[in-house]
Structure formats: structure tokens, C-alpha cells
Amino acid sequence: MRQSKPLSQVEEIFVKDRIRIFNSVLKILSNRELAEDVVHDAYLKVREAGATLAITQPSAYAFRVARCLAIDRYRRRALETGLFAGESEEGQGVSYTTPERIEIGREELRLVSKAMEALPSRTRRAFELYRMGGYTQREVAEQLGVSTTLVNFMIRDALSHCRSALLND
């Protein structure tokens, strides 16, 4: 479908630097099959993002997205593993069906990006450090010289604001 179009810069990074991206993801997941899946997932998402958002540093961006997705997958697996192992009675028979791969659309990306731009710059900075920087709330608080409570509030605010942008569209 999109075959005839030239690759975006970020997509090209995935082609050229695939092995390095794979290795950085593998370091997080320690499982080749999973790592391959995450790299592919990252590629699909980056393709949508590259077509929708202005990405000024494609290489840094490609690596960061892949790393973030790997960390998310790692945490998610810990949750799912516990789901099958910890036979809590309430947990039985409840299928927790969030797909590991979350499909994203361009319109959603556009709306969320717009919503994020409307946030106060400190809130946005706190969220970026937390979300993309991989810092904990406490670490973000230290970096910004504010309380952890405030960081917690700013992260909630950022996500809630993006959510409203999608709901109200």
C-alpha cells in the first residue's frame, strides 16, 4: 500500500541501524524472539509517527522509541507472568486482554502531540523526563528541583490532558 512512497528518515534508520537497535532492545529484554518482536513493533509505530510528526533527530528518536517499547514490554511481561503464576482467586477467569502490541493511529498521534504542546513547559518537561527519559518520579523531582508530589501531579495532568484531547475530538 505504501510501498511506492520513499521511506521517511526514521524508517531509514530502522533499515540501516537495525542491528544496533536490536542489540539495545535485547539488552533490556534478554530474549531474542521478544526483542525481534519489539523492534518490529517499534518500526511500525515509528512509521506512523514519521508520517505524522516532525522528527528532527531521527536516529536518536528511533533508538529511544525502541528502548521505551522494550521497557514497557519488559514491565508488562512481569505483570503477565504474575497473572498466571499468582493464582489469586479473584484473578481466575478474568482475561486481562490488553494486547501487548497497542495499535496507534495517525490522528490520535496528532491529537496527543497537540495536547502535549498546550501544556505548561515545566509539566511537559517533567513528563518527558519521566516518559522518554526513563527516570522515576523521584529522579525527575531531583532534576527539576521540585517535590515528588508535584511531579506526580504533573505527570497525571499530562496524561489526563492527552486523554481529554482524544475523548473530546
Binding site: 510528526l53 514497557d72 504474575g82 489469586s88 478474568v94 489526563s160 490532558h161 486523554r163
Partner: protein
Amino acid sequence: MNNENGNDAEWQAALDWLMRMHDGELDDAGHRELHAWLAASPTHRDAFREAERLWTLTGLLPPKDK
């Protein structure tokens, strides 16, 4: 279903879980608690799914140029 500011209790609880998960705070007991919370109501599961979706979407945004 939700108020405009996204301040409903389930959404906020889902954010709590999401952030605890991201902070790497969830040990086995924490995971069991989260499972129990998810199992307790489909609205909890919906809220958590939505939070994860927003989390994924925001993870794709390029950082603002400093």
C-alpha cells in the same frame, strides 16, 4: 462516561498503577494487587487499558527542542 478533565476515580487509579509499574515499584505482591484490582471490575480494566494506550502514544512523541 467520564468527565472532561479526566478526574474520575478509576482513571486516577489506573494512572497510579501505571506509574507504579513504570517506577519499577511493583514486586510480586504489587503485581497481585494490580491483578486483583483489574479483576474487580471491567471498568478498571478499561481504565488501565486506556492508560496504557495513552502511555504508548505519548512515548512516540519527539521531545520538545530545548
